[in-house]
């Protein structure tokens, strides 16, 4: 980027003194290093800087080598961390790790800086009369707990919101959901809502599971890769290693579809520029050519797809001229790309936030799936829907249910789901029920009603309480590992923060949430550990679960997430229930006990056989797994796939190897094969939904079949394959609820997938749009298209809240705000960026928040390169940023990165951070300028298309 590599950031080095005690200062005091804090007082800043930056050491100090996983994205890169005297002194590349072979992007290569943590939040603090005051952990927990109990008594448990994190380990994520459940609320959620929620809904509703189907490594086998709304060069750089291998070795065609000419597009064979928010139209445009030329895989569709004819009817409307009118892509290029995909099979589709973060996100994700189904690219090596997840454990935190609409394992919120988990937790269902608000709101009981999603907590605070499906507004927010600046509508968020009675921020850093409001009281900051100060498991995007060692002891006064949960549970009076079967040692719940507990309950998605013992065995032997197939050849894990990608069926004793490719019928289920899931019934309108003549190798039922239950086993005469103990457990149960795993074991013994064998469905009759339809964004510059492609009607209630569509779209903002505003990532930073902007090695590389603007628009608006500009969103939120004039964006489109924070509408907030904890780089949060708009299925926020105006500052 042009605006980088300057001298010191304004917020940079001035306050680098007074850092408190760190592990490094311990080292200095013992004389191992040369510099020292003692000198800091009487030298200039430049001298301090030098002393601070060194970690020189004697080579004689013995080294301990820990194995951990990078915490900056979901590729799951392995790391060797070398520790001396408790200090993380070296980071060595893990050349023998099967995902990354030692490779890292900027974030991964700077991981060791986490061991310094100079800008970390050092101890619990609270805001008193506008000043940060140090408090003890005990005082903080006591005061917060008392306030929560008061709110609970007055307004019920739903008025406290538990906002969890994709940065939790699996164990912490699971414990967090359980914690919220026992507090008695579904007002619990995390970043996945605003990341890939529309993927999970769209994809799971198409073929059963909502996750990446293949793996990064399997992409070596692609003949074509179409990336739509995905920029791995910045967001998942190590994925590019695999993609470029396919390009080089396999002559794979790389196609990038994006409004922006990204760094990934620079490596593509074909770059397609679409207007933001026209994904469905684009995909239907491709399918139009595919159907027109008979390029679809007819046999695959016959055997494994339901409802493709209805899609054909919709696609027929998308003639090339209409596609060009809506998306901006001409017929020749549409045909060229369609032909590339048709003639280069198997091919894979990749999408990320560019596809998901739309009001129409759930339509987009389904359209992508349908494209792959039409081409017959599913369930094969080199094919698949390779959906790259964001944070390191957003897949795991999603799987383990840190979500307002489901319990762990996507069991949902029905009474049956609660009873299943009550039996896993060994708790009385009625007691759990009693923890919830017993009222009914619009006929719905809070225990079984979706909670408020993270995208909407602002409305949970500000909306008239009579229009919310719960007793009262949200009165206290707990932000546990969350970047509020990654959420839209910053201006209203500030209002909401100021209306709340209490804000609790649990994070290694103070975060933008600590400074963006003008509160003077009622804010607590609790220092949490990073994943390098703890241990446990983490799920990569390809569904592999990896074990992390603890690298260093907690820095400063920070505590691990699970310890903080335990302390809160104790204060709030349900620690005994929360940890009934989990040991607590030194106030820390034992991680392995938590893993074993979710192993006992996560049957739906096969998180049951990855015991801590097996996970550690994989970790120790990661060198034995093949770089191409991820399969271990010999060694302790012989035959397993690395990290036992879920579903890993049955009990650990069953030794299922994990499922490297979802729905791949070329392998027996026992060896990782699968078919599409029978999730939507067995027939509809008299037509079977089960697959025809398609089944995994070795299946005894050589056709479609429903999911397994005790009844089906009896019907098939397989009941007696169960052991007596399994029979007792399986009676009246199915593959999802039989805690013995017997039903799964017997199904697999006969070669069948426990979840049945059905077709994928191209139509979803439970969604607002049965066939995915193009609908214009709420804030669209194309008013002429609204007759044909208007959005939905407003909804009185979705996820407890009224949700607007039509009433916004009806207003014409395009005169005053003529430019499309879209947002995205930079490689140096992650998410809201508080952690990465506090890492000097990264912060140095991106010191300025900027907006990309096309030269045409810049010249018309009298904006020069690197000049200050105001970007004002259509709801009036304004950000003052540097202009980067570039043809990377099209005319009429402005792009802003979303990782900055610490400035608000032109005001620098650096001095509002607790002393010594402001990040090295601050900047305007992109989402101060973004606007309203939520997906019609999942409440995903719209960040990729809104309108703005640009003026010189």
């Amino acid at each position: 980027m042009k605006l980088t590599k300057k001298k010191y950031a304004s917020s940079g080095k001035a306050d680098s003194k007074g850092l408190g005690l760190s592990r490094r200062s311990f080292l200095k005091n013992t004389g191992i290093t040369t510099g020292g804090l003692a000198a800091a007082g009487f030298m200039g800043n430049s001298m301090i800087r030098q002393a601070e930056a060194k970690t020189a050491l004697s080579p004689d100090v013995p080294k301990e080598v820990k194995r951990t996983i990078c915490s900056h994205c979901s590729v799951g890169c392995g790391v060797y961390a070398e520790v001396q005297n408790g200090v993380w002194t070296h980071q060595e590349p893990a050349f023998d790790h099967p995902f990354n072979r030692g490779a890292h992007c900027a974030k991964g290569a700077s991981l060791r800086e986490h061991g310094h943590g100079e800008r970390r939040l050092k101890y619990p603090m609270k805001l008193v009369n506008g000043k940060w005051q140090k408090v003890s952990w005990e005082t903080a927990i006591d005061e917060i707990g008392d306030k929560m109990q008061q709110i609970r008594q007055e307004s019920g448990p739903d008025s406290v919101y538990w906002l969890g994190s994709a940065k939790h380990s699996n164990e912490q994520a699971y414990l967090f959901r359980k914690f919220a459940s026992l507090w008695g609320t579904n007002n619990v959620d995390h970043q996945a809502r605003i990341c890939h929620s529309t993927t999970v809904s769209g994809v799971a509703n198409t073929w059963g599971y909502g996750a990446m189907t293949n793996s990064f490594n399997d992409m070596h086998n692609c003949k074509s890769v179409i990336l739509i709304g995905s920029n791995p060069s910045e967001a998942h750089p190590v994925a590019m290693q695999h993609i470029l291998l396919a390009k080089e070795r396999n002559k794979a065609k790389i196609i990038v579809v994006d409004p922006r000419f990204t760094r990934t597009a620079a490596k593509a064979n074909e770059y397609v520029r679409i207007r933001p928010g026209t994904d469905v139209a684009y995909v239907w445009g491709l399918l139009w050519h595919i159907f027109e030329n008979g390029w679809e895989d007819k046999e695959f569709i016959r055997q494994r797809v339901y409802g493709m004819d209805e899609v054909r009817t919709e696609v027929a409307k998308w003639v090339p001229s209409e596609v060009e009118n809506v998306t901006g892509v001409g017929e020749a290029q549409m045909r060229k790309v369609a032909k590339m995909l048709a003639t280069n099979r198997p091919g894979s589709i990749v999408w990320c936030m560019g596809g998901t973060q739309h009001t129409t996100g759930s339509n987009n994700t389904r359209a992508y799936c349908i494209l792959m189904l039409a081409l017959g690219n599913m369930g094969v090596s080199g094919g698949g829907a390779n959906i790259f997840r964001g944070h390191d454990n957003v897949q795991g935190a999603t799987d383990l249910g840190v979500l307002s609409h489901t319990l762990p394992g996507y069991y949902g919120l029905s009474a049956g789901a609660w009873k299943h988990w009550a039996s896993v937790w060994d708790l009385d269902y009625e007691w759990i029920k009693g923890r919830f608000d017993q009222g009914k709101y619009r006929g719905k009981q809070p225990m079984n009603n979706n909670g408020i999603p993270v995208s909407r907590w602002v409305d949970g605070v500000l909306e008239n309480k009579d229009r919310i499906e719960q007793k009262d507004n949200l009165r206290a927010m707990v932000y546990w590992g969350h970047a509020v600046n990654s959420q839209t509508r910053g201006v209203e968020m500030k209002k909401a923060m100021e209306k709340l009675e209490m804000m609790v921020i649990v994070d290694p850093y103070p975060t933008h949430a600590a400074v963006m409001h003008d509160r003077t009281d009622g804010v607590y900051l609790l220092p949490a550990c990073t994943q390098f100060e703890s241990y446990g498991s983490v799920t990569a995007s390809n569904r592999s679960i990896q074990w992390r060692d603890k690298v260093i002891e907690p820095l400063f006064e920070s505590k691990t997430d699970h310890e903080i949960m335990y302390r809160f549970a104790k204060k709030l009076g349900f620690a005994d229930q929360l940890l009934k079967n989990i040991k607590v040692v030194n106030n820390e719940p034992v991680i392995e006990d938590i893993t074993r507990e979710f192993n006992r309950g996560m049957w739906t998605i096969g998180y049951t056989a990855q015991s801590p013992e097996r996970l550690k065995e994989h970790q120790k032997n990661w060198h034995t797994f093949d770089f191409e197939t991820l399969k271990a050849e010999g060694g302790a894990a012989d035959g397993d796939f690395y990290g036992m990608p879920w579903p890993c069926w049955g009990t650990p004793e069953m030794k299922h190897p994990g499922t490297p490719l979802l729905y791949d019928t070329s392998k027996p289920v026992a060896e990782g094969g699968l078919n599409f899931r029978a999730r939507f019934g067995v027939e509809r309108d008299g037509v079977s939904l089960l697959s025809e003549d398609s089944f995994p190798v070795g299946a005894e039922i050589q056709d479609g079949h429903p999911e397994f239950s005790d009844k089906l086993l009896k019907q098939l005469g397989w009941w007696n394959d169960l052991t007596p103990a399994e029979k007792t457990s399986a009676e009246g149960k199915n593959w999802k609820t039989d805690l013995s795993g017997g039903i799964q074991r017997v199904a697999i013994k006969h070669g069948c997938a426990p979840f049945g064998n059905a077709k994928a469905r191209a139509i979803v009759w439970t969604f607002p749009d049965k066939v995915p339809r193009h609908r214009e964004p709420l804030y669209t510059p194309r008013r002429d298209l609204l007759d044909k492609y208007a959005t939905w009607k407003d909804s009185e209630s979705m996820y407890r809240l009224p949700t607007l569509y039509e009433s916004i779209q009806k207003q014409d903002f395009s005169k005053e705000y003529p430019i499309i505003l879209t947002s995205g990532r930079l490689v140096e930073y992650e998410g809201g960026g508080e952690e990465t902007r506090s890492n000097p090695w990264l912060a140095e590389l991106q010191q300025e928040m900027f907006a990309e603007i096309n030269p045409y628009d810049a010249n018309n608006l009298n904006v020069r390169d690197e000049a200050d500009i105001w970007v004002e969103g259509a709801e009036g939120g304004r950000i003052k940023v540097k202009a980067m004039v570039t043809r990377r964006v099209d005319r009429g489109v402005v792009f802003i990165p979303f990782h900055f924070g610490g400035k608000f509408q032109g005001k620098d907030l650096t001095d509002k951070y607790p002393q010594g904890s402001a990040p090295y780089v601050v900047g305007e949060a992109a989402n101060t300028a973004t606007t309203y708009g939520y997906d019609s299925v999942t409440q995903m926020q719209e960040t990729k298309v809104t309108l703005c105006k640009v003026t010189p500052a």
């Binding site: 030298m43 060194k54 050349f95 490779a103 890292h104 900027a106 290569a109 000419f261 490596k267 490689v827």
Partner: protein, 217 residues
Amino acid sequence: MARMKFLCDSERCIECNGCVTACKNANETEWGIQRRRVVTIDDGEPNETSISVACMHCTDAPCMAVCPTDCFYQTDDGIVLHDKDLCIGCGYCLFACPFGAPQFPQEEAFGERGKMDKCTFCAGGPEEDPVRQKELYGANRIAEGKLPLCAEMCSTKALLAGDAQVVSDIFRERVVYRGHKDGAWSAVTPGEMSEEEMAVRAEAFATDASSPVIAKA
């Protein structure tokens, strides 16, 4: 005798800056000193190309030729190093260097340009005491039998480091796979020439790993 070289494969380089922070991680250079950086040409345009640049450890290094205090020396492995105790911070080496490798601390306390700092190929420098060596010159991975951390951590294996012969063998294999008419520094146009022709071209382009990088970019 090995001859150490860097080579950045621009077909693979995605400007992720992994090499830049890996260098920080290994050498702990201060804020403002970047021994390695990624240069992007035609940023945001159809021919956008990125390449990671640091000291190229030239065989006939211009910095050595111009240094008034003769602080540079070349190791037996062909690594160009310098002695900070001899450096007077005059900056001649910076003008001589075609790669912009020499770096100078920008805000030294007493108004000087400061001692020159540059990539050492992670080979440390002329200082016996390991603690002081690390402080002055950064890591000495070569002494531990390791290669520079920037190349070892490169996200796409674009940046290669090591013995020139090995580096060029790896690169040559890639060029053959790709079938470029023009080494790796042109648009991808497979199928334009026979495998043999490609192999001949690849040989020609890969033997000297350092020289054509900037010229072609």
